[in-house]
């Protein structure tokens, strides 16, 4: 007696066939055999459309396959927003902060590692219990380009870097960085930081992880006039950082010192007059092989630099001009991880209520990311939903919503299928 039977009825003939199945004597079958207890799936290699999505409420990252809509697994982090650091050997490194009694007691900061093909912790490196906790999903930890050292930004509020030797799996030391914050990879053994006056700090390590050079650049912007957001993306040896007013500051990290070219604008004068701005939590993404830059845009006033976006504007990085505009859909609502498919499956006209309800709410797109393969997906997430909306990154066509199992989707990392920097 197959339940599918009814679903397959199309005409009278089908009914007859179906009925004959229903009333035919069941074929003799062997009993289902007893199944083993204790089996755990291995982690097969993530495909190019796999992304790690950060849930700030649940303090974890979930691995989601956007092609099949499957959650492939998850990794718990500690207090704050969990974000992974991905080395070329297939390992994942997670900087974590824990308290012995949940929200109180003894603080422990560690870097936990997960080996390839596994989501069981393989080890941890203790680090000084002072790593910075803030709401950025990027800029708090960075890898040297040779995958040897991990730098973790500390703030007590005195600022410094903790250096972890990933080869020896040990804490290598601390580097004072007074007045300079956050950390970005910038060469085989180099890191870039932002200083409060609009300069960059350039930190170079030796084989032991000690600072052999700390160079403070000239000021390349004025934070009093138009602050540069910390929310940058990297393509090859260039970092792209947007300013509040929509200028892109390019920082070239290929040479012995960082170089800064003249900023260029995401918005035309007319668009600026119409108050189009970049904003959100992860407002910028880059597809490295094609040189396409995706910016999350909204219309809003001077203090709206964290407001969610309504459109993704697509730029050609070589020509520094906009080549496409993608109107964003609401990623959808979830409650405690459940899609609130409000009215879907109801009788018409109630069935339209969900899309209508979504149309009544602000979009809430806080973050975007793009996969790095040759058929890239644009992924958009919200701080107030466990649902993602995905698009064909080349055509801009909306594809579907995918549920991550998260409560919020604050950060989206797409480390597979192409160049990681």
């Amino acid at each position: 007696m197959r339940h599918t039977c009814g679903a397959r009825i199309i005409g009278l003939l089908a009914i007859v066939v179906c009925a004959s199945v229903l009333f035919a004597p069941a074929p003799a079958r062997a009993d289902l055999a007893a199944e083993p207890i204790g089996r755990v799936e291995p982690l097969s290699a993530p495909g190019p459309h796999s992304v790690w999505v950060s849930d700030g409420v649940n303090e974890r990252i979930a691995l989601v396959d956007l092609d099949t809509d499957d959650m492939r697994g998850m990794v718990d982090g500690g207090w704050g927003i969990t974000a992974g650091v991905f080395t070329a050997d297939g390992r994942i490194w997670i900087p974590e902060t824990h308290y012995s009694r949940g929200s109180r007691g003894q603080r422990s900061d560690v870097v936990t590692s997960y080996g390839p093909g596994s989501l069981t912790p393989e080890g941890e490196v203790p680090i000084p219990a002072k790593r910075a906790i803030n709401v950025l999903p990027v800029g708090n930890a960075a890898l040297s380009d040779d995958d040897r050292f991990l730098a973790i930004f500390n703030m007590t509020p005195a600022t410094s870097l903790s250096i972890v030797d990933l080869e020896r799996r040990s804490f290598a030391g601390e580097i004072e960085t007074p007045g300079c914050s956050l950390v970005y990879g910038a060469g085989a053994r180099r890191f870039l930081m932002f200083c409060g006056d609009g300069a960059a700090l350039w930190v170079e390590l030796d084989d032991e992880g000690n600072a052999i050079r700390k160079i403070r650049s000239e000021r390349f912007f004025d934070p009093q006039v138009d602050p540069v957001m910390e929310k940058g993306v990297r393509r090859g040896t260039t970092w792209y950082f947007p300013s509040f007013e929509g200028l892109i500051h390019e920082v070239d990290v290929s040479g012995p010192v960082p170089t800064f070219s003249e900023p260029w604008s995401l918005v035309s004068d007319g668009e600026r007059a119409a108050e189009w701005r970049i904003g959100g939590r992860m407002p910028l993404a880059v597809h490295r092989s094609s040189g396409r830059l995706y910016a999350l845009m909204h219309q809003g006033g001077p203090h709206s630099h964290k407001d969610p976006g309504r459109e993704a504007w697509v730029y050609d990085l070589e020509r520094r001009e906009r080549v496409d505009t993608i109107e964003l859909r609401n990623p959808g609502l979830t409650y405690l991880g459940v899609s609130m498919e409000f009215g879907q499956g109801w009788l018409w006209p109630f069935s339209r209520l969900y899309d209508w309800a979504l149309s009544m709410t602000p979009l809430g797109v806080a973050s975007l990311a793009v996969t790095q393969d040759d058929e890239p997906l644009l992924v958009t997430g919200s701080e107030f939903s466990g649902s993602l909306a995905i698009y064909d990154a080349r055509s801009g066509q909306y594809l579907r919503r995918v549920i991550t199992g998260n409560m919020t989707n604050l950060g989206i990392q797409a480390p597979y299928g192409g160049a990681t920097r």
């Binding site: 007696m1 197959r2 339940h3 599918t4 679903a7 069941a26 079958r29 009993d31 289902l32 055999a33 007893a34 199944e35 083993p36 207890i37 204790g38 089996r39 755990v40 799936e41 291995p42 982690l43 649940n58 303090e59 974890r60 979930a62 691995l63 099949t68 809509d69 499957d70 959650m71 492939r72 697994g73 998850m74 990794v75 718990d76 997960y114 596994s118 989501l119 069981t120 912790p121 979830t334 409650y335 405690l336 991880g337 459940v338 899609s339 609130m340 498919e341 409000f342 009215g343 879907q344 499956g345 109801w346 009788l347 109630f350 466990g386 549920i403 991550t404 199992g405 998260n406 409560m407």
Partner: protein, 178 residues
């Protein structure tokens, strides 16, 4: 109009209480007694996973291990391991399957037989958050542990942190106890 609303509401209530899956409810709902409040609908990943050898057609409710209505889940209470990186009879990567659990008896529509099902929890990672299902057939209170799905069966070596739940065939039920 009122009658419409009542009708829709009732059918919704029926549907959600039977096949509703409800996302992460954290520690609270581990093995818990939750009936979805919200209007939720179709299975999230129906057909996305290859059927296991010997399993029925995944496009039917009897055969889709990502659906609360899958026949083995008659007494389940938790997140389906099959939606979380595992399968209906194996745990997601990096978790550990609990050795102890409770058993239910479910009717397999494919062969018309009743089977004893063991609902082993997957432990050591926080709640998965996808495909919450709660069907309480055979469920009894906590003082009757071998039949209770309100117990967090993550205990002992696997640790108490609950992630998701499997449904494993132990054998044909020798006598119907439903």
């Amino acid at each position: 109009m009122d009658r419409w609303v009542t009708h829709v509401s009732r059918s919704l209530a029926r549907r959600t209480s039977r096949r509703g899956f409800l996302g992460r409810l954290g520690a609270a709902l581990v093995g818990g007694a939750a009936v979805p409040l919200l209007p939720v609908a179709r299975a999230q990943a129906a057909g996305a996973r290859e059927p296991a050898p010997g399993e029925p057609d995944p496009t039917s409710p009897a055969g889709d291990p990502n659906s609360c209505e899958y026949w083995r889940y008659c007494g389940i209470d938790g997140f389906l391991a099959s939606c979380c990186g595992g399968t209906h009879r194996s745990c997601p990567p990096g978790t550990e399957m609990s050795a102890v659990t409770w058993v239910g008896t479910c009717h397999n529509p494919e062969d018309g037989k009743d089977y004893v099902i063991s609902y082993n929890d997957c432990c050591g990672k926080s709640p998965c958050g996808k495909c919450f299902c709660n069907r309480n057939e055979d469920d009894k209170p906590i003082y009757y542990p071998s039949k209770s799905n309100d117990i967090n069966w993550c205990m002992g070596r696997a640790g108490v942190v609950y992630n998701s739940t499997t449904a494993i065939v132990l054998g044909v039920a020798t006598e119907p106890d439903r």
